[in-house]
Amino acid sequence: MSYELDYTVGSIPLDKLKPKKVRKNIELTLWERLYIPEIVRGMYITTRHFVINMIGFVFPPKGKKRKIFTVYYPEEKLTIHVAYRGRPVLVQREDGKEKCVACGLCERICPALAISIIGGERQCGNDMERYPVTYTLDMSRCVYCGLCEEVCPHEAIVMSDEYIGLAEYDRKNMIYPKEKLLVPVARLKNRIEYVREIYGKANYMD
């Protein structure tokens, strides 16, 4: 999947977009110093917006994109781009265990000191594997910088697209234990691919 940036402003394609000429001299011309014509010009613009929007309010066009960009938030929600950094989550493998190996890099790089890990070892088939016995993320400290995701060598912690319901009345509720952070890998596929693409050079030398 490629994530090309959309180089358009509004609906104007980039090659048609030209820098506007800015008149540098501050001295007003005689026409402008008469005030009235310029005021009428400004009022024409605002009145045009008023009339167009009033028609749009009274007879809403069907199927067309509406002129007003306001999103009625709780009822409508924007689709979130894959680059959005929501709350950090731990990736849960298909077998239900966490991908994290408790290397402690995220704990180390976290600028807000929000992560604390206690690592341990457990049996996995014939081998032993490292895993976090506790993985605590203090959401009242997290600054959503995404450094943990960048530094993680195992794609074990990524930023999800969740941003609803993170506010709490009690600070104690904002300390998230491991169980609250685990999210199945199937739901995070897009983000993991995106992470591979943007941090690929640093993390996946091939």
Partner: protein, 357 residues
């Protein structure tokens, strides 16, 4: 005698009801909604009763309930008497001035002559100016008595601005008085029967001057330096809360209505419809009998007058949300160096034309 009393009370109640019951509460909503529509936004639409939002019309109600239940705060060191008096002084003139504005002509119904104005004064315009300048005291007192630097600055600015624009406002209206030869607002209104005899065609410069000065008198947007919220918090009413705050708010809106009423009476043909004379309307309503047709004509005239007022309010709101605020020195320059000479020239030219005719 009793009939006169009933008529007077009915007219007072009508004017009071329209101003306080319709315009004062609804203009807050109009201002928010119109600015939103002009700026491609949606505007206030969340207050609801049982899920009915009525396109935000319940917001004035909820605002009023909120403000009434707030604490009425008087800051320490404030002059309590003047601090309490100021909102009353600024609200009362706005309501009183509408008394001389005619909202209809003279009609003869059931042998009784009805003049649709609360007080038909011979010096109508002078009354308007006298009370409009009285409103300044409310602003200045509020600024001075609050014991707050922002309020004080706002009061100072208000005093300077009002003084400068009062002069140009008074002079800008002289042209129209000379053209119509009367100070009586009912007579000036009655003379504008023909569309091309409206004040705006006889006195175009006077119209622009008066509109500008009226907006400056009302302390609204391009001239809102007394309250300039980006510079001096809220200016002269920084220290007001609760009901007193509403009174300043209402005073501003009612002044806007009154100014629109005066502009409509002087320049926009008062209660007359363009191109349709009252006789034509009367013959159109002929089916309702002699008295019924006159009553219908009266209704049509009142509706025309308030329709024009609503248009003028829309126009003032458009100006308020289009133009940025002037700087203090720009306001003074505009008032003394531009408005005053132009109004004097306007008087001179009008005098010449009236004399040579």
């Amino acid at each position: 005698m009793i009939a006169d009393l009933i008529e007077a009370i009915a007219k007072i109640l009508f004017v009071f009801g329209v101003n306080m019951g319709f315009f004062a509460p609804i203009l807050g909503w109009v201002e928010r909604k119109q600015s939103a529509v002009m700026q491609d936004r949606v505007g206030a639409n969340r207050a609801d009763i049982f899920g009915f939002t009525l396109i935000g019309l319940l917001h004035p109600l909820s605002d009023t309930i909120k403000l009434i239940t707030k604490e009425d705060f008087i800051p320490a060191g404030a002059n309590k008497l003047f601090h309490t008096l100021a909102p009353f002084i600024s609200l009362t003139p706005a309501m009183i001035t509408f008394a001389v504005v005619p909202f209809g002509g003279q009609y003869e119904i059931f042998g009784r002559r009805i003049n649709l104005v609360v007080a038909d004064l011979d010096v109508g315009i002078l009354f308007v100016f006298a009370f409009a300048s009285l409103a300044t005291y409310g602003t200045v007192l509020a600024g001075w008595s609050s014991n707050n630097n922002w309020s004080f600055l706002g009061g100072l600015r208000a005093a300077a601005q009002m003084l400068s624009y009062e002069v140009a406002m008074g002079l800008s209206i002289i042209g129209i008085i000379m053209v119509y030869g009367s100070l009586k607002l009912t007579e000036i209104g009655a003379m504008q029967t023909d569309f091309f005899k409206w004040g705006i065609f006889l006195q175009p410069i006077g119209f622009i001057l008066f509109l500008t000065c009226a907006i400056a008198e009302n302390k609204r947007a391009p001239f809102d330096i007394p309250e300039a919220e980006t510079e001096i918090v809220a200016g002269y009413f920084t220290e007001y809360s609760s009901m007193k705050f509403i009174m300043f708010w209402m005073g501003e809106f009612l002044e806007m209505v009154t100014i629109s009423g005066i502009i409509v009476t002087l320049f926009l043909g008062a209660w007359h419809l363009p191109f349709i004379s009252d006789e034509r309307l009367l013959s159109l309503f002929g089916f309702a009998g002699p008295n019924g047709s006159i009553i219908m004509l009266m209704m049509a005239n009142i509706a025309t007058f308030f329709g024009k007022i609503i248009f003028m309010i829309w126009f003032q709101m458009t100006i308020r949300w289009t133009l940025p605020r002037f700087r203090y020195d720009q306001i003074m320059k505009l008032g003394w160096k531009i408005m005053l000479p132009i109004s004097l020239i306007n008087i001179f030219i009008t005098g010449l034309v009236v004399l040579l005719k």
